[in-house]
Structure formats: structure tokens, C-alpha cells
């Protein structure tokens, strides 16, 4: 990685600052919860449709072919290699989040797998009983108390929020494609292999998702937001009251008028 500020990042940060200032605008009264978590829904849906088209036309077919050619054991080794590098970044974030013991365990995992696991291809630490603790910078910002902000769908990258997007540049700086001095083609290769290898592992999950989601966009958005909340330990909310039990004090809900077609 070169020492100076990557020009692509500069544009990114500018775009983010713009978005962040838009997101900070006060919420007008009468907006629904849905509009609050996803004020850019119309735009996000367009990006989502673009990503889906790209996935159907390119990524999914490539990943399917890749899964047929590359044996599962090799795919796991490749996945482990990338996950090992992510472990180092997780450990840094655990330290930033004030969890020194978890951070030390993560650093130990990274050391063991790098040295004895052939640069991370074998996950020996897991077999020794040291579990992976995932961390990234968006999560760290959340632990520090920053709100998630509006939901954002990025082209190629996928679901995100304002806060997670602020964490993205640092996450990328610590990702394999920037860690080594590879040149542009090398960077692309490292990134593409990770993408295809990950997508190949999700082929089954993608089929299940198609079966269960009434509206894939909403389902993915809500699952992503829940998952991110759980990653910063905000999952201990009590469950909603049971509406099937009679509660005479509850006012009956009013079905909202239909929304205009998008």
C-alpha cells in the first residue's frame, strides 16, 4: 500500500460527509419507523436491483462454476486464509472496543494460524478451542456509541448503514487487497477470489432466501440491521408483547392507506 491518501477514498469520504449531513436533518413529525431507518429507500432499492442483476448475470454463474471446479477442501482453505487476515483486524477492533482479553485471544489465533496453519489456510486455533470473535470498525464505532444512522445499499458492497459506511475505508485498508503491495491487477485478483469464494459458500443460502422472503429487499435490510445490532451487543431487547393475547386497553390498529406503487 502506498503511503498517501488513496484518491478513491477521498471521493468516498466526501460522498459520506454529504450523505451524513443529509441524514442528520431532523425527522419530520408523522414519519413512520420504516421511513426513519430507511429514508433513502427509493434509491437503495435501485442499487439493490442493480446488485441483484449483476449477481444473476455474473457473480452467481461464476461462483457456481467455481464451486464445481474447486473442491470443498480447497475452498475452505482459501476461506480460512482470508478469515485469518480478518482475525487480525478483529483483534485490533476488540482492543479499540476495550476488550483486551478477547483482543489477545484474537491475536493469538492469528499468530497460531499464520505460523502453524500455513499462513492461515488451516484453522488450527479453532481446533484448539480458540473461537473466532468477529470485529470491524463499523462495529467499533457502534460500541463507542455512534448511532447506526440511515440504511444504505452500496453498489457491489451491499447492505450498510451510515455508521458502517464510515468504517468501510478503514476496513478496506486492513483487507487483503490493500495489505500487500500487489499492483492494481494483483489487488483485483485478491478481491475477486475472495468475492467468488464467499459467494460460492452462499449458493445454498441464496436459494433459501429466495423461498422465504416476501420482499427480498426488506428481508435483507431487516436481517442486516438486526445482525449488526447483535454484533454490538444490542440484542437483549425484550420481545414484543403477544398480540394474540387479549389486551382490552390496546387500541385497535388502523391499516395504513396503500402506498403509491414504486
Amino acid at each position: 500500500m502506498t503511503g498517501d491518501f488513496h484518491p478513491a477514498w477521498r471521493r468516498w469520504v466526501m460522498a459520506l460527509l454529504l450523505l451524513a449531513s443529509a441524514g442528520c436533518a431532523t425527522v419530520p413529525p408523522g414519519t413512520t419507523q420504516r421511513q426513519q431507518i430507511d429514508p433513502f429507500e427509493a434509491w437503495n432499492r435501485k442499487v439493490f436491483a442493480f446488485n441483484e442483476t449483476l449477481d444473476d448475470a455474473l457473480l452467481k454463474p461464476v461462483a457456481t462454476g467455481y464451486a464445481e471446479v474447486v473442491p470443498p477442501l480447497a475452498r475452505r482453505g482459501i476461506g480460512n486464509f482470508y478469515a485469518n487476515l480478518a482475525d487480525a483486524w478483529s483483534a485490533v477492533n476488540m482492543l479499540l472496543q476495550g476488550k483486551p482479553v478477547t483482543a489477545a485471544e484474537g491475536a493469538f489465533r492469528f499468530g497460531v494460524n499464520t505460523v502453524f496453519g500455513f499462513a492461515g489456510v488451516l484453522d488450527i486455533a479453532s481446533e484448539m478451542g480458540y473461537e473466532r470473535n468477529y470485529g470491524d470498525f463499523g462495529q467499533t464505532l457502534g460500541v463507542w456509541g455512534m448511532d447506526a444512522g440511515a440504511y444504505l445499499m452500496w453498489p457491489l458492497i451491499g447492505p450498510s448503514t451510515m455508521r458502517e459506511s464510515l468504517g468501510l475505508p478503514l476496513n478496506y485498508a486492513a483487507s487483503p487487497m490493500y495489505l500487500f503491495n500487489l499492483g492494481l491487477a494483483g489487488q483485483f485478483g485478491v478481491w475477486a477470489l475472495q468475492l467468488v469464494n464467499t459467494r460460492a459458500g452462499l449458493l445454498g443460502a441464496g436459494r433459501i432466501l429466495d423461498d422465504i422472503a416476501l420482499d427480498k429487499y426488506t428481508f435483507i435490510r431487516d436481517a442486516y440491521l438486526q445482525r449488526r445490532r447483535s454484533l454490538i451487543g444490542e440484542d437483549d431487547e425484550p420481545p414484543a408483547p403477544d398480540p394474540s393475547q387479549d389486551d382490552p386497553e390496546a387500541a385497535p390498529a388502523v391499516i395504513p392507506p396503500p402506498e403509491p406503487a414504486k
Binding site: Q226, R227, P252, A253
Partner: protein, 203 residues
């Protein structure tokens, strides 16, 4: 014909058995169901080959008796539930059940060498609404799988499931509200029915 004494002892045995069932702790219940289901899947070649119909039979027999499906559906429908007529509630419940069983079944056909482990409970013994935390372990990272259970008339029943930090029923709430907003409760029923028909056509 049964003698009166044997009839009484049978009746007592049945009482004892049902009593023992009600006493089962929520984590023990989850562990029993998980182990039962995983063992059954591992022993069944047709399920491993992807026969979803076979899984549905298994899930109906082993899992559904311990699920409060009315509460699951009502929670997903949320505040609109009370507006639905009893017939609509019944249809919602049936269609949602078909959808969820299909999901669960699809996941079960992926089972190979997994086992389930309990994580420590954070609830008090007198609680009647608890979260049981488990981990599915196999190759790769363990998968977090948690259950919300409530005690109704002495028996514990599952009413939500968490996969990797995502509560499933909670996750349907916005999708359901969106469909109800667009086409009312009947619109949601039609949407669920369509989804199930399309999925059934593929298997």
C-alpha cells in the same frame, strides 16, 4: 376388556407422564428436540438427498408440538392481528407455517456432521419467558441458534428463533406490515399463498 384396576393405573401413568413433560426445563426441551431432529436427519438418506417432503413430516412430528404457532404468527403480523377475523387469522397461521417449515427444512437438508451445544442460561428459575442459547457446531465457525420460549399452562413453547443474531419472526414484521399496507390482510394472505405455491412447484 381392561379391568378397573389396570384402567386406573394406566390413567395414573398417563398423568405422571404428562406431569414429567411439563416439568421439563426449557433448555432440556430444546436440547431434546435438537438432538432428536439432527439424529433423524443423519439417519435418513432421503432427507440428505434433499427430499423436503420427508423433512416436513419429521418437523411436524418432532418440532411442531413444542411451537406456539399462534403467537409466532400474531407477533409477525403485529398490531394488525386483532383486526383480522378468526378465519383470516387461521389462514395466516397456516400459510406462515408452511413458509417457515419449508425454510427450516431447506436448512436441515444441509445437515452433515453438526451437533448442538447449549450455552449458559441467563434467566432465573421462576421466569416464564426465557431465551435458550445454543450453538450448532460442525465444520467451520459455530452457528448461533437461539430460541425464545414461554411457559403457557405448564408447558414450554417456542415462539421465536434467532439465527446468527437475527430473530426470524421479528424479521418478518416489516415485510408483513408492507404487504398489509399495500393490500390489507387478505393481500398478505394471498402473497404468502403465492410464495408457498411457487416454492412447492420447485420441489
Amino acid at each position: 376388556m381392561l379391568s378397573r384396576r389396570s384402567f386406573v393405573s394406566l390413567f395414573l401413568a398417563a398423568l405422571l407422564a404428562s406431569g414429567a413433560h411439563a416439568q421439563e426445563a426449557p433448555d432440556a426441551l430444546i436440547m431434546r428436540i435438537s438432538t432428536d431432529v439432527l439424529d433423524a436427519v443423519k439417519a435418513d438418506k432421503s432427507i440428505q438427498a434433499g427430499d423436503v417432503r420427508q423433512v416436513i413430516v419429521l418437523v411436524d412430528a418432532k418440532v411442531m408440538p413444542s411451537v406456539n404457532f399462534r403467537r409466532m404468527t400474531a407477533s409477525a403480523v403485529g398490531r394488525f392481528w386483532r383486526q383480522a377475523t378468526p378465519e383470516q387469522q387461521q389462514r395466516l397461521q397456516e400459510e406462515f407455517k408452511t413458509l417457515l417449515i419449508r425454510t427450516y427444512s431447506g436448512a436441515l437438508t444441509q445437515v452433515k456432521d453438526q451437533s448442538v451445544q447449549l450455552k449458559p442460561m441467563r434467566s432465573k428459575p421462576e421466569d416464564d419467558d426465557v431465551v435458550v442459547r445454543t450453538e450448532v457446531r460442525g465444520k467451520g465457525d459455530p452457528v448461533q441458534l437461539d430460541y425464545r420460549l414461554e411457559k403457557t399452562s405448564g408447558a414450554w413453547k417456542i415462539y421465536d428463533v434467532n439465527v446468527l443474531g437475527v430473530w426470524l419472526v421479528e424479521n418478518y414484521r416489516n415485510s408483513f406490515a408492507q404487504e398489509i399496507g399495500a393490500g390489507g390482510i387478505d393481500g398478505l394472505i394471498a402473497k404468502l399463498a403465492d410464495k408457498n405455491k411457487a416454492a412447492a412447484g420447485k420441489t
